[in-house]
Symmetry: C2
Subunit: 142 residues, 2 copies
């Protein structure tokens, strides 16, 4: 994402644009998907060693609250962050190498809605992750 766009995005959301927030957002958006906080922190530090860990967490929280970032949890004890996409997607995770694929199956989404309705719930979120071994890892095990 271009710097100018980050500036604009933060401004649109009413987020005070500070140097730290710019760097953190820009770094996250340039790192691809499913990035952990400590991973992000170490890259951010390379650009500006003065930025603290707490600020990375605070900024991630802020971006999440403003709908710019999605928080994921693949069950390995640390949260992952990715830029919020226009389209929803779920995840397929390799339990050997950590590779993550994304997918979206509208039929599954609809069936989830239906289940929630049947049970009297007003569904506001869901979480669907498939865990297994990717092709590469299977071939290497042979």
């Amino acid at each position: 994402m271009k710097t100018a766009n980050i500036e604009k995005t933060l401004h649109e959301k009413g987020i005070t644009p500070t140097m730290q927030r710019r760097i953190i957002a820009q770094t996250l958006f340039s790192m691809g998907k499913h990035v952990g906080a400590s991973e992000l922190y170490s890259i951010v530090r390379q650009k500006n060693p003065g930025i603290g860990f707490a600020t990375v967490y605070r900024t991630l929280q802020l971006l999440k609250e403003n709908g710019l970032v999605e928080q994921r949890d693949f069950g390995d004890g640390k949260k992952r962050y990715e830029r919020r996409d226009e389209t929803h997607h779920d995840h397929l995770v390799c339990i050997n190498c950590g590779k993550v694929e994304e997918f979206d199956v509208p039929v599954i989404e609809r069936l989830q809605e239906e289940v929630a309705r049947e049970k009297g719930f007003n569904m506001v979120d869901h979480r669907l992750e498939l865990y297994g071994y990717c092709k590469k890892c299977r071939e290497e095990k042979e």
Copy 2:
């Protein structure tokens, strides 16, 4: 679960039956579903104040490894445990009161398999949780 059955179950799995393990397993099985470790610990302590927290964790791990217990994670920072059921199920969680409903939709299960196959993954597990507000919580908010 009856005491005799626990004894038998542990024995079948080759788990050395100790007093602690019997009490922990029996307590968990009698507490219903989706129980947290500390919650379990506090009930276990009532039966035998000498049992330590570490033993509760160790036993849960043991029961899980032997397929007697399933570990769940509803994203609130603590793991939940429930006796492993003969049939698979997924969860619907109220984000206000914590109520948990279970469901199983064979079509969703099949579609998951299909996605994994398409992406070249050998799926060994999955996780599907729906989050929302249950009927009761919605009515109370009015």
